[in-house]
């Protein structure tokens, strides 16, 4: 049996505001094995940051049991803090201090011996490509540099479990790829990563397991492949020159959803060559000419939109 870095059961949190209690997390269960990347995926306001804040001891849950690396989150908060590193959505660097000073500050707070601390700071500056900027105040850094410094600070003291709350939000594509590379390296070193993101592509690229969070509930969980299989999103889109051909095609194929205005026919497919060949063969047999053809394979976008859409409808039904 693999040890779990995070084991959460029935995590709940609500906030009180002027409209009464607002439920942010409505019973979340999580099981994240050590040495894996787990991604919590959801739109803004789904409760991702709240989840990270609870798991990283920043705020307390209203209910539920959580164990982080075997420590109880409430009763052994300090032991949990000793195990984790957090890089939040907003850069957690001291902007008045230089990059190097920020890292040395972390080394001091991790109670590393002076020399070890210096060594570690030097290593991290090199690894995160910040050597040239080491002597400048962090306020002068670009967004990507601040994010790198932020993550470097999290790594001082070698945490075994790292929370990355939307680590690439607001970064340009290149910085995002750099960040992904760093995350992969970390996991290769045996670190567990808990990643929240609103980018499906990011979860698809990095995560071993993905959980979809919407309105404070997990609506699906699994590997990217498993999630994609959840929905029938794959199809071939055929475009015709006139309505006559469209109707004829629908008739001979015996399936598909026609769109008379766009003159297209959407034929379900699993994306295999066999199905496409069949479709083309049948149309060819009846001499029905196709203007354009395009393939659509399901991606996490489809999964996400389909599942959150369904959930939205359910929410509209009166529950109370």
């Amino acid at each position: 049996m693999t040890d779990l870095a995070i084991a959460a059961n029935g995590l709940r949190k609500s906030y009180r505001d002027k409209d009464g209690d607002k439920v942010v997390l409505d019973g979340i269960d999580l099981a994240v094995p050590e040495g894996t990347i787990f991604s919590l995926l959801g739109p803004n306001g789904a409760g991702k940051t709240t989840t990270v804040q609870i798991l990283s001891t920043l705020i307390r849950a209203d209910g539920g049991q959580v164990q982080i690396a075997g420590y109880d989150l409430n009763r052994q908060a300090d032991d949990v803090r000793g195990m984790i590193g957090v890089t939040g959505q907003y850069s957690a660097v001291d902007k008045l201090l230089t990059g190097e000073e920020n890292l040395l500050l972390m080394a001091d707070l991790k109670h590393l011996p002076k020399r070890t601390g210096r060594q570690k700071a030097k290593e991290l500056l090199e690894r995160f490509d910040l050597v040239d900027a080491a002597g400048r105040p962090a306020a002068t850094y670009s967004g990507g540099m601040q994010r790198r410094l932020d993550l470097a600070m999290t790594l001082v003291g070698d945490p075994r479990l790292i929370f990355l709350d939307e680590p690439t939000t607001g970064l340009d594509p290149r910085s995002r790829r750099t960040m992904w590379g760093i995350v992969r390296e970390l996991v290769a070193g045996g670190v567990t990563i808990f990643l929240t993101t609103q980018y499906l592509e990011e979860a698809d690229e990095l995560a071993d397991r993905i959980a979809l969070l919407d309105h404070g509930r997990l609506i699906a969980e699994g590997t990217a492949e498993e999630l994609k299989r959840l929905i029938p999103g794959g199809h071939v889109l055929l475009k015709f020159a006139d309505p006559g051909r469209l109707d004829a095609a629908r008739l001979v194929l015996g399936l598909g959803t026609p769109d008379p205005e766009a003159l297209t026919l959407q034929v379900p497919s699993d994306g295999s060559v066999r199905v496409i060949r069949q479709v083309l063969a049948v149309l060819d047999e009846h001499s029905i000419e196709i203007d354009e053809m395009s393939m659509h394979t399901p991606d996490l976008d489809d999964v996400f939109l389909t599942l959150t859409g369904q959930n939205g409808d359910q929410d509209k039904e009166p529950v109370r």
Binding site: S56, T57, D79, R81, A92, V93, D94, E101, D108
Partner: protein
Amino acid sequence: MSTLTLALRDSATMVRRQLKRLLRYPSMTVQLVVTPVIILVLFVYVFGGTLGAGLGGGRDVYVDYVVPGILLMAAATAATGTAVMVATDMTEGIIARFRTMRISRASVLTGHVVGSVIQQLLGMAVVIGVALAIGFRPNATPVEWLAATGLLTLLVVAVTWLAVALGMKSPTPEAASNAPMPLVFLPFLGSGFVPTDSMPAVLRWFAEYQPFTPIMETVRGLLLGTPIGNSAAIATAWCTGIATASYLWAKHTFDKA
């Protein structure tokens, strides 16, 4: 390592952080020193002749009278700076980072307080230097200087913890700059700029019982030899009380948030 050693070590780290920040952002310190110096010069040269006449002397008499009030005003002005600094810090992600680390929680606040106290004592030294240059003539013995410094330090510690608590309670740095504002006016509504017996009854009652008056009277007594009476005891009690209450308030706020 024991909890206490860790707490001290973390606090020392945080103090170093805060001192570096103050050095990196000197305009705040400069402003905190310049404001009371301007007020001092303004009161001595613009109002000093007339106000000094009211005290039975001239400008030279008024310089001596007004310095303790200016020193308290300096502390109050600095409190504004501290509150803004804390509020800004709290909105930055770095504090959230500290909270998720296995460190002594109070150390974050201790760093702010010790840093600000050092900053303010230096500021007060500058104010006294300028005062001496424009005619302030204290007749204190070294022991009296030491006692005055001790009381002012206690005051600064109290005001700083209060500023830290106010800074943390403020939703924004802008709000934080307003919160300690009343403190800046307390020297005016006390014996800082004119003797309280020249004020109308209600105001005089407030002036005599508010915390800054006994502190100013004690400092004045120590530096210039005016009667102190029971002011010293009341001043110490006020400072200790404000410091303790503010410390608990600040710590509670930090732990809860």
